[in-house]
Symmetry: C2
Subunit: 206 residues, 2 copies
DNA sequence: CCGGATATCTTGTCAACGGCAAGATATGCT
DNA sequence: AGCATATCTTGCCGTTGACAAGATATCCGG
């Protein structure tokens, strides 16, 4: 359906999505122009409309691609800590996708393909939080853990991308993220980032 | 200079900023149109240019206003926990300002007025983190605490505004934020959210 | 090998927008 | 009263997103 190759352009849909990511990384989603994308791909100004309908259609496709890429990136993290680092790393390296994904005013966030892709990526995050021991003063349970973890990595990534962080933060987002995430879970993750067995009432043996 | 009142319109600059906030809350910063703002204010389509130069000039003014409003809002929080809650509350209630502030591609983030206002609001956050006792496994010191706190409230606020959070989070952002923030600082803040005295090595007496 | 059916892309058009220039009008100051 | 200035208007241009209609390449059945 998509990657067939062999039409007029070859694979215009893919080329447009790639060009969109580049353009957004250069000057942000607000400055994105369908006509500019068409020029970059070497087609006429109305060619994108056939594949995506309109601008929000293109950004919808980009968001879907982003949620799937995020899910794949999260799966590479073999611990809760490393999964958080992978989240930040994804936000920094696929910055265009990330920026669009969390800006529902730019695309059709209620499209079924989007909600499905979003669900897939969220499931990966939750699976990692599940085997975290309950912390002190944990009011919300595992859902609270997931919410806090998601918030801290998302916030750090957003602030990093916005250039809002002070210079002392350094220039390696992965390392800086590691420090921040460790501060959330404290002694509940060990040096390798793996969840440690609950210290208080070791009721369930490993 | 600004609040004079009594010119042609009265106070067009203020009216345009207010209209911009409303318009952005309605349909996001990407859909913002200077001509639409002019219509809302009842002036011609070129009137905004006189006060702000261009679109990014208007958003620059909105960002400055936002950073000052944020600093004022943070000052109402009398504890670290409540200051975090105030951050989230600001992001939700003055959503337009908040969205623009952390989107440097939309305005001139390096304008001197912006960096000054940003500095003012950041100083408020840091002052609250200063009297937090060092936590276990705290690698980054007070700066790390500030970064973690900022990240978690910023991330939560952003996700809330994006509508990305699951329904179980509830409909009161202040309450949900309280739970999340408490999970970051654990036992280091008491029920009132105040910082507790350091338990390990009380080297510096209060 | 051919010829329609279909997907893909082009050309042409229109309203809206941002930005600029030049002019009009009101305000403040002396 | 009269000039300088701030404020706003009118007019214009290039660009954009969206739509309509036409052109062209690919696919598939015969």
């Amino acid at each position: 359906m998509t990657g067939a190759r062999g039409y007029h352009h070859g694979d215009l849909r893919r080329a447009l999505l790639a060009a969109a990511a580049v353009a957004i990384e250069e000057s942000g989603p607000a400055a994105l122009s369908l006509r500019d994308l068409a020029r970059r791909a070497g087609v006429s100004h109305a060619a994108p409309a056939h594949h995506f309908g309109d601008k929000s259609g293109l950004l919808t496709a980009l968001a879907v691609e982003g949620f799937d890429l995020l899910a794949a990136a999260l799966r590479t993290g073999d611990s809760l800590l490393e999964m958080g680092v992978a989240y930040v790393d994804f936000a920094v390296r696929r910055r265009a996708h990330f920026e669009v994904m969390y800006r529902p005013d730019l695309y059709r966030a209620d499209a079924p393909e989007v909600v499905a892709a979003r669900k897939r990526s969220r499931a990966v995050l939750r699976s990692a939080v599940a085997d975290l021991p309950p912390g002190p003063g944990a009011v919300g349970g595992a859902a609270g853990d997931a919410l806090a973890a998601w918030s801290i990595v998302h916030g750090f990534a957003t602030l990093w991308n916005a250039g809002a962080l002070p210079d002392e933060t350094g220039d390696d987002p992965r390392e800086a993220a590691r420090v921040v995430i460790r501060r959330l879970f404290g002694a509940r993750v060990d040096a390798q980032g793996r969840a440690v067995p609950p210290a208080r009432s070791p009721r369930t043996p490993a």
